[in-house]
């Protein structure tokens, strides 16, 4: 399964702040939880958890009786930039992967105008793969507006934290992952969090299908084909 939502209309039910290991991101998470700051800009490499944080922010907003909207622009190919119209009617607007539309002038303009409308009295949270000054938008206005946000890099979790999250997520699925198994996975699998979670999903499915206990040999056999 792909953890990215196709059209962001619904939110991943698993994305909240509790199951995101905070690691070095404590300050950022505290700020997101408050749902007060008018504009936050997150950036980081693929798989560090940007989408998760954006979606968790939507949940946090909804828990505070605010309306929230999540949209991932990496799917922008599949829809029209009219999609951005009237989003300022939501209290919190989360736009994921804004760098994906760089170079598409019409999209850049539409995003720029959306920013202006949201800035009036609503909250904007966006994510991109790099810091604001490095997104090569053609529209300078859009670039400078990005700089107005509080910028936070999303810092990759340490292996230890990743291990914790894996065990927590497994527990939610009713799986038990021993420390040894987790260490083994972290040694031999890609340690990108997204890959790890996908692996967990596969593990869950296969252990059920094959009626196997989760042991190191079992995990090793899956990783071999993974």
């Amino acid at each position: 399964m792909n953890n990215q939502l196709a059209l962001g209309i619904q939110l991943l039910d698993t994305a909240n702040f509790d199951n995101f290991g905070s690691g070095e991101n404590k300050e950022l998470i505290a700020l997101l939880q408050q749902v007060k700051e008018p504009f936050i800009y997150l950036f980081g490499a693929s798989g560090v958890g940007k989408s998760h944080l954006l979606q968790a922010s939507c949940f946090a907003a909804q828990q505070r009786q605010k309306t929230a909207f999540y949209l991932a622009l990496n799917e922008a190919e599949t829809f029209d930039n009219k999609m951005l119209q009237n989003l300022e009617n939501y209290d919190v607007v989360c736009i994921d992967d804004i760098h994906s539309i760089r170079g598409k002038l019409e999209w850049e303009e539409a995003l720029f105008h959306l920013f202006n409308r949201v800035f009036k009295d609503k909250i904007l949270i966006v994510s991109a793969n790099v810091a604001p000054q490095y997104v090569d938008f053609q529209l300078t206005d859009l670039k400078t507006r990005c700089g107005w946000g509080i910028t936070y890099p999303v810092i990759e979790l340490s292996d230890q934290e990743k291990a914790k999250i894996l065990q927590l997520r497994a527990e939610h699925r009713g799986l038990e992952l021993s420390d040894e198994v987790v260490q083994y996975v972290l040694k031999y699998s890609s340690r990108n969090m997204r890959d790890l979670l996908q692996f967990l999903e596969k593990l869950d499915y296969l252990s059920l299908a094959q009626q196997r206990k989760i042991t190191i040999p079992f995990v090793a056999s899956i990783l071999k084909h993974y």
Binding site: Y41, A45, K120, Q133, R145, G147, W148, G149, P153, E156
Partner: protein, 462 residues
Amino acid sequence: MSEESIWQFCLDVLEQELPEQQFNTWIKPLQFIEEKRRIMLLSPNRFIDDWVRSNFFKKIKMLAKSRKKTIVVSLQVGNLEEVKRQLEEKKLSKLKVNVPQITNNTPPPAVPKGAFNFNETLDKKLTFDNFVEGKCNILARDASLQVVNNIGGSYNPFLIYGDSSTGKTHLMHAIGNKILKNNPEARILYLTSERFVQEMISAFQDKSIDKFKKYYRSANLLLIDDIQFFAGKPRSQEEFFHTFNTLLEEQQQIVMTCDRYPKEINGIEERLLSRFSWGLDVAVKVPDLDTRVMILMTKAKEVNMDLSQEVALFIAKLITTSIRDLEGALRKVIAHSRFTKTDISVDFVKTVLQDLVTLQGRSVSIVNIQKIVADYYNIKLSELLSKKRQRAISRPRQMAMFLAKELTNESLPIIGKEFSGRDHTTVLHACKKIEELKITNDQILEDYKYLKKVLVSGRLRA
């Protein structure tokens, strides 16, 4: 701090520093008039005036500015009562001239569907009072005030242009707010060119274009932001052109902003461009250092945050790109200070903005390079800096020197010095060696690429 207490402070210091006789002869006779942000000093005669000006005036200004950076100190020959009376008169006459009355005899036309009400879109927070002036924008600010005082006069249309994030929109709202304050009945519309286009299109679709026209043409003041977005939209330009003409004929004021000199925009009709230049256009420039400092101080004050001059100067020197970047940096500093419950000092700011600094590709420090390289090759920093010559240590050392040369602006001798006082020829040798190895040894090339990526992208683990 009031102007009077600032002057008192100057007096106190001067009294202590100057011999009594000098103080009594030259300083004491000066009369003080309190004006907003201004210390006005009157000397009784030309002789004293000249003497004070050449001997003490510089010192007085310095003292006053040490209390309040924006204070203006002036010195002139004059009599207290007389000058006060003149000032009052000037103020009164200014008031009389400065409030052009707007009378709207007819009731406002109906608001078209989806359009804003008059005055609804003015941002009340953006005023002349909180507009930070500096060399970069003083002309535009003064011209904006002129527009307020001569609505529909010779500065019509009024166009403010300049790079993104230099305060154009702020000035535009300030004009609107000031006019509204002077004339509570004024009909003011602020909107972006994008919004204008959108409303016009939906008016066409609803067949309510007449209503649309009537409405926009009844405004006393039309503020259109970012007119560059009219480019390539001929139909919107057509409609805007007519609205524009009607307003100008009726002597209603139009104010526009643009991210460049309009003649440089492609895709705007010639006749519209020539209309734009009928009135006055004025440029705003990217803020200079002093202005950036003032902006930071003002913004911090708005959120009740104490920011020392020193810290403001540090941030202003670091962030030179745009006002928004400046605000973003300040907000980050404030958020971090609140989160960690730490006071804001220069060192604190350094740590917080480290990401920004490194991410701007500015200050990859040698120390940082040494740490990351040592870490990467799994050796101790002390080993990297030691005299050891085995290859497992010397190769990483050479790599670190090479990166230091490439990623910092330091000279070879300085780099050598940072590596336990080595000679610059050693650094040179290291650079040559790595340069060769990058071609012949794939592993070295990989190491180099990785380390560089980590270093220039800041704290992100690649």
